[in-house]
Symmetry: C2
Subunit: 314 residues, 2 copies
Amino acid sequence: MAVIDVEISEVGPRDGLQSIQPIMATAAKKAWIDAEAAAGVREIEVGSFVPASLLPQLADTTELVAHARTIPGLKVAVLVPNFRGAEAAIAAGAHKITIPLSVSETHSLKNVRRTHAQMFEEVARIAALIKSLPAAQRPHFEGGLSTAFGCTLEGVISTRQVVTAAEQLMAAGCDEVGLSDTTGYADPRAVRVLTQAVWAAVGRDKLTGIHLHNTRGQGLACALAAVELGLFTVDASLGGIGGCPFAPGASGNIVTEDLVFMLEAMGLSTGIDLEQLLKVREIVRAALPAEVELYGFTAAAGLPKGFRAASVTA
Amino acid sequence: MAVIDVEISEVGPRDGLQSIQPIMATAAKKAWIDAEAAAGVREIEVGSFVPASLLPQLADTTELVAHARTIPGLKVAVLVPNFRGAEAAIAAGAHKITIPLSVSETHSLKNVRRTHAQMFEEVARIAALIKSLPAAQRPHFEGGLSTAFGCTLEGVISTRQVVTAAEQLMAAGCDEVGLSDTTGYADPRAVRVLTQAVWAAVGRDKLTGIHLHNTRGQGLACALAAVELGLFTVDASLGGIGGCPFAPGASGNIVTEDLVFMLEAMGLSTGIDLEQLLKVREIVRAALPAEVELYGFTAAAGLPKGFRAASVTA
């Protein structure tokens, strides 16, 4: 595969679908994953190992991991809330496992009813399980720093809190940490400040990705700051699916198509064929009820006349 | 007035209103201008001196200039298509006059039925008229480089074309040029490349502002690039009014509120009270039929808990 400048991690099948009521058929999810991988996307978060009673939308994650693993070169990522989820993820064969930790302990208690100490214990158990596996079977284990840019309950989260949480996640056995703007509070300066602070604490190679929301329209500006600072992986969701519960009419995650357009227009290769990616919307559109909105400026406006993407297209 | 880091030029009353069918009442426009100035906006493009037969939405520009001039400290800007418009703008007392030049000559011919040579002649006549005025009455005269980032007819516009047009506008007597992404083709890298090329040709003090569209969702990312490179004035439209004819559901201009949020969150002072600015939407909402959409992520989501703006608020 060609060398790329920025890796897009498609999180629509997980973060997008968990945020909407309708349940997408497993066959449609597979077609979506196939089509995005064919367009050149190299990492897809296909689901989450949470009890089906909590998130019936993601109940087929085991099947999706198995399917996605058959696609050559695709990194298959999943989210897990706890040790039990990690066990299931490992059994399914996920390449990358992310456990989110709310840097805001108030949020953590409210959201997963766990203190930080309890979460770090869970992380350590997962790390030990992973270490017990043969090297070739070990998934990459990431600790997601949720609410890193601010919390809807606590408000401002200090850089110190984020750095401490990052250090503790690494100490508990994560391979890497990731910054996550769960609440859409980030701005480009905050992205730089936090990234550099975490780098200084745990090492530059231990924080390479960021998860941004577009709640206040700052998604692409934050992604620009992140990528130009040197973060490699940026999460995004096709069609911005999932919306934002706090902002009617606003997309939740960054729209994958708009992010790819920005990077490719700037001459940064994502390895993704943008025209092909835009066509994947049709699969998603057809697989969801009409009341689920698909977002995306680039899809609405079309590509500029004479547009040349950085990635060589087939 | 306090020193600011970035100047926002509100172009909604001109660019926004000219793009929609309904005509806003003059009293409502005045209330809008008053409220934005009260919120701290220091430059407002209040209208355009085009024949009322072409743009009845802006037929009251003379009255608006007179009104806006009574607001202490407010820079009153207008657009003019030609010499006759400039005469009217000067008679009305505008502080700043912008004449747009389509860098794409195809676009210029189609849009205003004028070659570049004819446009530069028009610019020279306006410059001579301004020079004939007593120094205190001379408006600032800007040449807007429209379609600078690409043209819906010609496609790619080369950096050379933009630089040449900038040089010719300055030679014809403009005080300054401005970059304008009429078509929503810009990306952050292109903003940097073009700005630096024009700076190299005409001097850094002769290009200080940029007009961006959000057609492909790149508005704020481009604004970030522009501001961090050192451009001082960024155009934006309250509620992103006007939409984008090419992209249903997409705002045309950058949304003023989202831009101010980004800058203030980053610690860059705009002199604008963001909460007060958000309230101005009510005036605009009430003055337009319900079918005219108002955009804005920040308005939809609200300000983050514990948010502190860079500008000291009253």
